[in-house]
């Protein structure tokens, strides 16, 4: 499959935009206006971007703690997201959720929660409801490789397999759960694809830092789920460039080897794709600068708006505890 030039440019723009959002959050975080934990996704652009390009608005997405890209790629409103980080009433969850509870129902970003593995069964439940209601919408559930160490992950894929639910499980394997490497957490020979297959779920492992691969392969997989009505698990290898939680790079703590860091920085999904598009003369510096300017404007507006928006009135503490 050859990807059209127009799509390639869109993918590039989307990745650049997502990266710019995270970079801006990191830059502004020290002003202490965004007072909630942020789990930035820098380095993991290709996954959400490539998959979401193949999704329809009515398809639903569930995410976990590192959710910014899943939200943005699915079309989540930028202003509402930034306002949520600022704790403002105009935030996507009225300031009650923060970075770890992004939601945009219009865009189909159904929920994000920070308890590891916790949205997996909830996403499965929605897909189950879709089946009961004869709806064919796809449910995409993003989680990290840490989630696959939780019992609820196995419980959930087992059920999805038994009931033939329209679900794309997406495991973003960035090798680290906070500071804990895979060596302390998983057997060397452990293979998520074969584990899933042995439980009756078809599965694929891909390079999660190559946007073209992610886009093309997830397109096939999503079409296949929609025609066969069977779930699929996609494992994507990737790497986070920044610390687990917060705006900085924490590699001075030496929990990741410099060799490993260098290897993955070389595999940066954005830079490599940019290089490729430049080499193929699909894009030039002028266009890139135009994109950067456009994104900067959007971000300036979003941050200015979030800054000037109101905090929720104190009586909002008591609203929406019960429906």
């Amino acid at each position: 499959m050859k990807v059209k030039k127009k799509i390639l440019l869109e993918l590039y723009f989307d990745m650049l935009r997502m990266r710019s959002v995270e970079t801006r959050i990191a830059q502004e975080y020290s002003k202490q206006e965004m007072r909630c934990p942020v789990h930035l996704s820098v380095g993991q652009e290709a996954i959400a971007c490539g998959i979401s390009k193949n999704l329809q608005k009515k398809d639903k997405v569930f995410s976990a703690h590192r959710s910014h890209y899943h939200y943005l790629a699915k079309g989540g409103n930028l202003n509402s997201m930034i306002a949520e980080l600022f704790g403002k009433e105009s935030g996507c969850a009225g300031g009650k959720g923060g970075s770890m509870h992004l939601i945009d129902l219009k865009a189909g970003l159904f929920a994000a929660v920070p308890i590891v593995g916790s949205t997996i069964p909830i996403g499965v439940g929605l897909a189950w409801a879709n089946k009961i209601n004869n709806k064919k919408d796809l449910v995409v559930i993003y989680f990290g490789e840490g989630s696959t160490e939780e019992g609820v992950f196995y419980e959930s894929i087992n059920f999805a397999g038994i009931h033939d639910l329209n679900i794309l499980f997406v495991c973003e394997n960035n090798l680290y759960s906070v500071y804990s490497g895979l060596g302390n957490r998983q057997a060397k020979k452990r293979n998520l694809v074969s584990i899933s297959k042995s439980m009756g779920i078809s599965a694929t492992k891909l390079n999660g830092n190559n946007i073209e691969t992610v886009f093309i392969e997830s397109n096939k997989i999503i079409n296949n789920i929609k025609t066969t009505n069977k779930p699929h698990l996609l494992e994507l290898s990737t790497y986070r460039h920044l610390e687990h939680c917060g705006p900085f790079n924490d590699d001075k703590l030496n929990y990741r080897e410099q060799k490993e860091i260098n290897y993955w920085l070389k595999k940066c999904p954005l830079k490599n794709f940019e290089k490729l598009l430049l080499n193929k003369k699909i894009i030039n510096d002028q266009t890139i600068n135009k994109y950067i300017k456009k994104i900067d404007n959007e971000l300036n507006q979003a941050f200015n708006k979030a800054r000037s928006d109101k905090f929720p009135n104190k009586n909002k503490l008591f609203t929406n505890v019960y429906a």
Binding site: S118, W128, N133
Partner: protein, 351 residues
């Protein structure tokens, strides 16, 4: 409304059945909901009537299937989830406390979670430390949950229907010993109000408050207290969260005395909450006491477990103490009010 006698499990069954008949989005899910025993009869005939697409036996995955119920509720399904013992729900506390209870709040009202989680509390026949705990106070502690705990077949049906119709996550407690108790139940589809207690009998001398099976014990205690010319007012809480503060305060204001009888452990429990409500809302001296399950795990052997629970005699004795009456031989005289390790003579185990 036409009434007839049903037992508690038949009443629950009828409530669920009628709700499923009226609303196609109501489903029943849980381990064994379609097995030969049908959750002590409470899910009888449901799969025959509504089929496999609305009555689901599940894999042994409590944590996940509580999440499935939450997720399904986001897709316009109304799940009724059942655990044959409360203790299995402990595997699902993340989904109940972190997710279901907070979902509506943490998305600031965009999506609610209308699910009913039925938790059955075991008792007797050697159920032991992990099959007979009443953990209702754990759930009642959590804002965002509603906790229902009826004592009569009428309320079992009326509150089951109210729970299914409610827009919030409901924890529905059933004491296993109540399943075989009979009472008048209307045939019609009706609901009782969640959050409203019931005054079972009016009295002037002391307020007795309980929920679930302990309501039966305080009703029996009243019979004993009659011999001492003490006329208690009896309140059946029916709902633990939101708790009906008004009725409690009004009653204790009138009687000046309170005994809160806890279905679980006393410390940090429901009875502690009742005493706090009285303490914070009544500006005069109230003589109050609480009684509940002894402060140990509940053992299997009946020779010990029988002493774990309050009963009509121990309750009446506590009341008499508050009146400075010290009668002798209470247990001999009122032995017919002391239950053994089975709910009734027909009970043959095993659970």
């Amino acid at each position: 409304m036409h009434k007839r006698k049903l037992n508690f499990s038949e009443a629950i069954n009828e409530g669920i059945d009628q709700a499923m008949g009226k609303d196609k989005s109501v489903i029943v899910m849980g381990l064994g909901v379609d097995d030969p025993k049908r959750i002590f009869g409470t899910t009888r005939n449901l799969i025959e009537k509504y089929g496999k697409n609305r009555v689901f036996d599940l894999p042994t995955s409590e944590n996940a299937f509580t999440g499935f119920a939450i997720g399904a509720s986001l897709g316009n399904i109304k799940p009724i989830l059942v655990h044959q013992r409360v203790e299995f729900a402990l595997l699902t506390m993340d989904q109940i406390i972190n997710q279901a209870a907070k979902w509506f709040y943490m998305n600031d009202g965009l999506m609610n979670v209308p699910i009913v989680i039925r938790l059955i509390v075991g008792r007797g026949w050697g159920q032991g430390p992990q099959h007979s705990q009443n953990l209702s106070s754990l759930f009642a502690h959590i804002p965002g949950l509603k906790v229902v705990s009826p004592s009569s077949p009428n309320d079992a049906k009326g509150l089951m229907i109210a729970s299914i119709l409610d827009k919030n996550p409901i924890i529905f407690f059933e004491n296993r010993w109540l399943h075989t108790t009979y009472g008048d139940v209307p045939k019609d589809f009706f609901r009782e109000t969640i959050g409203k207690s019931k005054i079972i009998s009016r009295g002037t001398d002391i307020t007795l408050v309980a929920d679930s099976y302990m309501t039966i014990e305080i009703i029996n205690a009243k019979k004993i207290l009659k011999d001492f010319n003490i006329n208690p007012e009896i309140i059946d809480l029916r709902t633990l969260r939101p708790i009906d503060e008004k009725t409690i305060i009004k009653s204790v204001n009138k009687t000046g005395k309170l005994l809160a009888v806890d279905s679980g452990w006393v410390k940090f429990g429901i009875s502690a909450e009742i005493l706090s409500i009285v303490n914070e809302n009544i500006n005069k001296n109230i003589i109050s006491k609480r009684i509940g399950i002894k402060d140990t795990p509940i053992p299997s052997t009946r020779s010990l477990a029988n002493h774990s629970y309050p009963n009509a005699v121990t309750i009446a004795s506590e009341v008499l103490k508050l009146f400075d009456i010290k009668p002798k031989n209470m247990f001999n005289k009122y032995s017919k009010f002391v239950p053994g390790d089975i709910p009734n003579e027909n009970f043959r185990g095993p659970f």
